[in-house]
């Protein structure tokens, strides 16, 4: 067991995967000498050389397209997209190539490409640096999409994503990079566990679903609610695609109430799918419609307004109040 920050856990995980498998190569802008703008690849080029830690030209479609070519050749590329908002130039290569190649080639071509994206807001950045693009990828058949919420998961899930034969979009909650936690690097994860949700806190009254950056906020909200006598079960989704509906449904059947939270906009976001699917799967157990507490349906706002945009403890509690059908004095989300 070591105490590592979230970013150190990622760095260690990359290092271990590279040591374990010579076909693992890293690609991205500024990931070499600089170690990436978030230093996630710090020191790796020095130790593994320029052919394993590849500073690329400034072109995201090129990066993902070249990664696909490397995967064709038997490599296992791990791509870093510098910020969430810069993944869109690569969208065509991700959606029409990376996601579809296995299907297109009738299973002959596997593309074990991992695309790491520091995502989400809360760090006071200008436009394009705080996006939450997960719904685009989750809606795209052929991709798997995961997001760790703590250093241990950061370590384990990244190693699992890299080892996975399917393309994986790996979303890193950038505002949690500095969070510290215990990390067991010897842990041998169960096969398939990458795609399992985790009950991060047990509770009887209401199921609160979060992923990535908001898991911590959700846990804080659950603590606060406990003081008011509401016993919240917090689920860390971990895998956004596939969603672990078994774990989610079991919780909802128990509690009868659901609140879902994410930073991304509400309309046709991942929360919509969770709400719709859980309604389908657990309709007779529901005491209230699933409640979504999300970012607004607006372009990511300037830094001085982001605290209004991002769901926080109070807005989550407001959602909880509505799901409990309490005569909530606070009415934050549209119903």
């Amino acid at each position: 067991m070591k105490t590592l920050t979230f970013s150190q856990a990622l760095n260690t995980s990359l290092r271990d995967s590279m040591e374990h498998d010579a076909k693992v190569v890293l690609m991205g802008e500024d990931i070499g000498k600089l170690g990436g703008v978030f230093r996630i690849t710090d020191g790796l080029q020095k130790d593994f050389g320029e052919h394993r830690v590849i500073d690329t030209p400034l072109a995201e479609s090129g990066i993902v397209g070249a990664a696909i070519g490397l995967a064709f050749r038997g490599y296992r590329p791990v791509v870093e997209i510098q910020f969430d908002g810069f993944v869109y130039p690569a969208f065509d290569q991700i959606v029409s190539q990376l996601a579809k190649m296995h299907f297109r080639s009738r299973g002959n071509v596997k593309l074990p490409v991992t695309i790491r994206i520091p995502f989400g807001g809360g760090i006071g950045s200008p436009e394009h640096h705080s996006e939450s693009p997960e719904a685009y990828f989750a809606h795209t058949a052929g991709l798997r999409v995961v997001s760790p919420s703590n250093p241990q998961d950061a370590y384990t899930m990244l190693a699992q994503a890299i080892a996975d034969d399917d393309p994986v979009i790996f979303l890193e909650p950038k505002r949690r990079y500095h969070v510290r936690g215990e990390v067991d690097t010897d842990l041998v994860p169960e096969p398939g566990s990458l795609y399992r949700a985790k009950v991060a806190r047990e509770g009887a009254d209401l199921t609160l679903i979060a992923y990535g950056p908001l898991v911590k906020t959700a846990l804080d909200a659950a603590d606060a609610a406990a003081e008011e006598g509401i016993d919240i079960e917090v689920i860390d989704l971990r895998s956004i695609e596939p969603v672990d509906f078994a774990t989610l449904s079991a919780s909802v059947r128990k509690t009868g109430r659901v609140v879902i939270t994410h930073e991304a906009g509400k309309f046709a976001g991942v929360g919509a799918e969770l709400a719709a699917s859980l309604t389908e799967r657990c309709f007779d157990h529901l005491d209230h419609a699933p409640v979504r507490v999300t970012g607004f349906d607006i372009p990511y706002p300037p830094a001085k307004l982001e605290n209004h945009h991002l769901p926080d403890l109070d807005r989550i509690l407001d959602g909880v109040d509505r799901a409990m059908r309490r005569n909530a004095p606070l009415l934050g989300e549209d119903g």
Binding site: V25, H51, I54, T56, P57, A59, S61, G62, V64, G65, A66, A67, I68, G69, L70, A71, F72, R73, G74, Y75, D92, Q93, S96, Q97, K100, H102, F103, R104, S105, R106, G107, N108, V109, K110, A141, G142, R144, D164, D165, D166, Y195, P242, V243, D244, F245, A246
Partner: protein, 373 residues
């Protein structure tokens, strides 16, 4: 045996390298001759037969589409020299990233007729297993494959392999950002990849002048690629340039680019009607530059037995046609399960649920039909 040639000044050559004039006279080409010194009459005859075969393949493809056996077909008529010349320059280990029109290159790889037609029939998303023939499946998104070739070639370089990658695309594709980015990547890592542009003068209804005012080849030069602009209807020139380009990229000093100047004699696809946008005169002009005729004329001038050659060609093309017909008549329709089979390489729980539910739905349907008999 090597062939000697007429050393008079080439006539009517454009701003590209040519070895064999449309009338079949061979003239010196210092940039290219070295690369085809070894070519004997036999080799030329084989190239001729190859071109005849893919022309027949194309005719059959178009006919099969007309008969409703294929959903669509993208004709290669007129581009036989570009595809055979380059396809025959490749080594087995070289890896090809084609667009959708390279049936001739696929033919060079010995791809089975079933596998060639499967996708065009709408029976499967693609045909062959890329790793069995070292050729990726067709690419429909214009230009996307060029990046895959660049990345693959980076891998070759990291591996210390002597193989090369080659990617095919059209004149229209040169406008796509991906193609420019592919040149940037290839140049940046000096990756062993040949960019093979078939400038067939049209991107559906748009003339090449919509994509570029100058030469496509010059654009590649600007990206630092070793560049050849060749007569794409001259199979010897194409073969030579591709060999030269492959040799260049194998030195590890950087990628190469070939602009093969040719012409799409047919429609863009069987869904297209080119009379809406192009002139019959242009077609005539290009018919006079036919890639097969000039090889035949040249072989004639060399004293080859043309009659025997044409007989051999007839036999080969008839065999080809028979194989295609047989493939179509024996090709099974896809299974419902193919919908779900390869979306992921390992199970995905709720997609599995969709598969099962749909199977149950179909089974219920069948039961109902049974019951109502």
């Amino acid at each position: 045996m090597s062939i000697t040639f007429d050393s008079s000044t080439p006539e009517g050559t454009e701003d590209y390298l040519q070895v064999l004039a449309p009338d079949g006279t061979r003239h010196p080409c210092p940039e290219l001759d070295h690369w085809v010194e070894d070519l004997g009459i036999q080799d030329l005859e084989n190239l001729y037969i190859d071109m005849a075969c893919i022309r027949r393949l194309d005719t059959e493809g178009t006919a099969l589409q007309r008969q409703g056996e294929l959903g669509l077909w993208a004709p290669l008529l007129g581009q036989e020299a570009a595809q055979i010349g380059s396809g025959r320059a490749l080594e087995h280990d070289d890896f090809i990233f084609p667009s959708y029109r390279e049936h001739g290159v696929a033919y060079c790889r010995g791809i089975d007729p079933h596998d060639l037609l499967r996708m065009w029939r709408g029976a499967a998303p693609s045909g062959w297993n890329p790793y069995e023939v070292n050729m990726a499946n067709q690419q429909i998104v214009i230009g996307a494959q060029t990046l895959h070739a660049a990345g693959y070639a980076m891998g070759l370089k990291f591996d210390g392999s002597n193989a090369a990658a080659i990617t095919y695309f059209g004149d229209g594709a040169t406008s796509q950002g991906d193609v420019s980015e592919a040149m940037v990547f290839a140049a940046s890592y000096q990756a062993p990849v040949v960019f093979f542009c078939q400038n067939n003068h049209w991107a559906i209804s748009e003339p090449v002048t919509r994509q570029t005012a100058g030469y496509i080849a010059d654009r590649a030069k600007g990206f630092g690629l070793a560049t050849w602009r060749v007569d794409g209807n001259d199979v010897i020139a194409v073969l030579a340039a591709t060999r030269a380009a492959l040799a260049h990229v194998r030195t590890g000093t950087g990628p190469a680019f070939i602009e093969a100047v040719t012409y799409r004699m047919g429609a863009h696809t069987t869904a297209d009607d080119p009379t809406r946008y192009r002139d019959a005169l242009e077609l005539e002009e290009w018919a006079a530059k036919d890639p097969l005729d000039r090889v035949a004329a040249h072989l004639d001038s060399l004293g080859a037995d043309l009659e025997a050659l044409k007989e051999r060609a007839q036999q080969a093309t008839d065999d080809m046609a028979a194989g295609l017909r047989e493939a179509i008549t024996t090709m099974p329709d896809p299974e419902v399960d193919d919908l779900f089979a390869h979306v992921y390489s390992h199970p995905h729980p709720w997609l599995e649920e969709q598969r099962e539910n749909y199977a149950n739905y179909l089974a219920g349907f069948a039961e109902n039909a049974e019951a109502s008999k």
